[in-house]
């Protein structure tokens, strides 16, 4: 009986703490009143160099613009975690939520809840459903990235031959968007090229290296490896180098210059494609601040983003600029 009592007290306690204080305001920060704005900033995952670079830009923007920045994100691949963090931010009472979305449909439910509570929502890096946010800070669209990747690959291969893709996990949402668009571009423009296989590397460099080594052996005519998650680019390059196929098998991918510099200089990796990641973080916070202050409204065509100057809008997309192709010639100019 005592156990039952304990059980009921436990549950009762949980309910009591909740139900006795329903009147407390959930959005104490408010947007007016000269209070410091709180902007919550979420990467797809923590512990990833790409998003750490993004965060560095966001921190600089927060200092420039005088806002409070919250940084939180999933530490594993649990697809529900982003929703949970957004829902926590809603009850925490923040002014703007900025998210790089892992699950397009899934996260939108949580973001709509935030909007219903009067919290402004902005997405960056990869978008939610359009109705779940005000603006999308677009470093490059899925189509844009896919096209640059596919076009560069085709150019490296001379427009014909076999190629393979290394991705993070088979379930990663935005990479699947890119793969779909790569497929479209492939069918439309490069009928002589053939995608032989797509392999996951679990976001680990060593696994990418092993998968690439296997692909090189299994497909002797392979002409190009396309790595679409950042740890996979140096992994693929190392495998090509160790197989003694430098130059014969081209390597390209989406990655950070710092992780690929040596390979690009040695001619193992022909092209690394990326945008100015730090600027992406900076621009996101600048846009979020302008949105909260009412300086950026739907329908605007430009807005002033701190040190980045005037930024153009296309519809509800805030465009950072085109993806950048790092090659032997220019890679030394970038240090992220």
């Amino acid at each position: 009986m005592r156990k039952l009592f304990l059980l009921i007290t436990t549950l009762g306690l949980i309910m009591a703490t909740g139900c006795n204080k329903p009147s407390e305001s959930t959005n104490t920060a408010g947007s007016g009143g000269g209070k410091k704005l709180t902007i919550a900033f979420m990467p797809k995952s923590k512990g990833n160099q790409y998003f750490i670079t993004c965060k560095n830009g966001a921190v600089k923007a927060a200092a420039d613009l005088g806002i409070d920045l919250l940084f939180d994100g999933p530490t594993n691949t649990d697809p529900a975690k982003q929703n949970e963090i957004v829902e926590n931010w809603i009850t925490l009472g923040v002014d703007v939520i900025a998210v790089a979305c892992e699950n397009k449909e899934g996260i939108s439910t949580a973001l709509r809840k935030a909007q219903a509570k009067g919290i402004k929502v902005i997405t960056f890096d990869s978008d939610s459903m359009p109705d779940a946010r005000s603006f999308f800070v677009n470093q490059a669209t899925a189509t844009g990235i896919a096209n640059v990747l596919m076009d560069t690959a085709a150019q490296l291969c001379g427009g014909e031959g076999e190629f393979a893709i290394i991705t993070a996990t088979l379930t990663a949402n935005n990479m699947n968007e890119w793969r779909k668009n790569i497929d479209l571009r492939l069918k439309e423009k490069y009928p002589k090229m053939k995608l032989v296989e797509t392999k996951p590397c679990d976001d680990q460099k060593d696994k990418a290296q092993q998968e690439t080594a296997n692909l090189l052996g299994a497909y002797p005519n392979l002409k190009c490896v396309m790595a679409i998650c950042s740890p996979a680019v140096p992994g693929a390059a190392e495998a090509v180098k160790q197989a003694g196929k430098v130059g014969k098998v081209k390597v390209l991918g989406l990655g950070l210059p710092s992780e690929n510099r040596a390979y690009v200089k040695d001619g193992v990796t022909q092209a690394v494609i990326l945008w100015k990641v730090e600027d992406l973080g900076y621009l996101t916070i600048a846009a979020a601040t302008a949105l909260a202050k009412g300086e950026l409204k739907p329908g605007a065509t430009t807005f002033k983003a701190g040190k980045l100057g005037e930024i153009q809008l296309q519809g509800s997309d805030i465009v950072l600029g085109q993806p950048f192709v790092f090659t032997k010639e220019n890679i030394d100019q970038f240090d992220f």
């Binding site: 990833n48 160099q49 088979l170 998968e211 190392e238």
Partner: protein, 309 residues
């Protein structure tokens, strides 16, 4: 024959797979890529040796993946400071041994269950590593890769080292008093104690050894590429446990031999490249891995069931 049923059946499965590859994808046997594949699995083999000892002593260690990450980052950081390989190796093995000793104190000293203790240390080291390193790669100085040897030389050395370790440990388990103690403690700790063996000391030693081997494996891994990925080691614990189990080590302790584990790891590690060489889609890989683990134990279970009847 009967005694080694499991080991032999796993070897038969491996042989069948290899024969299939010889028929349908002969380029699987090209020497250079084959050597690379062996070298890439060498660290996992070293970890599996330690895991075998842990399981034979009737414990388990699911923190080895996190330990591997910590050791790799420690080793990488020291190597980046241009310290000689010997120092890097000692530091990595030392770090591993300390992490292992931490497990050992809690498990052998306080008598806490190993699965929970290592679950706790797994999360703790993993999160601490993320906090400290934030996923940044470490660039190694040029001389570090392949320990200053040529690529082929380095790969051969790594494979030789791993196989030598298996041979040495297999010999030690059979012929040294300490090795027999591990079996004795695993099959019946109380009986072992009455026979004059120190079960706590043995268990503690096994966990320290496990950590040290992880440290060694981490160095064997980082010398294969010019950069250290702090996320390396994710999933290593499952790989090592699966290899041990498929190779015939009993989770109830006291039974198992390293050559079986060696074959078990070879089988599991061959599945992934085999699928690529046979041009099977990647998304079947996990299901097939699971089936292989199940088939290995089910075969054993059926046999012992028939034996009882």
């Amino acid at each position: 024959m009967k005694r080694y049923f499991r080991e032999l059946s796993v070897a038969a499965a491996l042989f069948a797979l290899l024969a299939g590859l010889a028929l349908f994808a002969p380029n699987f046997y090209e020497p250079a890529p084959l050597l690379s594949r062996f070298a890439a699995q060498a660290p996992a083999l070293v970890v599996a040796i330690g895991m075998t000892l842990v399981i034979i002593s009737r414990q388990i260690d699911i923190s080895v993946g996190s330990q591997f990450g910590v050791c790799a980052v420690v080793a990488g950081t020291l190597a980046a400071m241009k310290l000689p390989l010997v120092v890097v190796l000692l530091a990595s093995v030392g770090t591993g041994a300390i992490l292992g000793a931490f497990n050992g104190v809690l498990i052998a000293g306080l008598g806490l269950p190993s699965i929970v203790v290592t679950l706790a240390t797994m999360v703790t080291w993993q999160e601490a590593l993320r906090l400290g390193q934030q996923g940044r790669f470490i660039n190694l100085p040029p001389g570090m890769q392949w320990m200053g040897l040529s690529q082929v030389g380095g790969q051969r050395a790594l494979v030789a080292l791993a196989v030598l370790m298996v041979a040495a440990f297999a010999w030690a388990l059979k012929n040294l008093a300490a090795g027999r103690h591990v079996y004795a403690v695993g099959s019946d700790a109380e009986a072992a104690r009455l026979a004059g063996i120190h079960p706590k000391g043995t268990t503690f030693g096994v966990f320290v050894l496990m950590g040290g081997l992880v440290g060694l494996a981490a160095v064997m891994n980082i010398v294969q590429s010019p950069q250290v990925d702090p996320n390396a080691g994710g999933g290593l614990e499952l790989k090592a446990i699966a290899a041990a189990v498929v190779g015939g080590v009993a989770v109830s302790g006291g039974r198992g031999n390293l050559w079986g584990v060696f074959v078990g790891l070879l089988l599991l590690a061959t599945i992934n490249p085999a699928l690529t060489y046979l041009h099977v889609e990647a998304y079947w890989e996990k299901a097939i891995q699971g089936l292989v683990i199940l088939l290995a134990v089910v075969a054993d279970g059926l046999r012992s069931r028939r034996g009882k009847r």
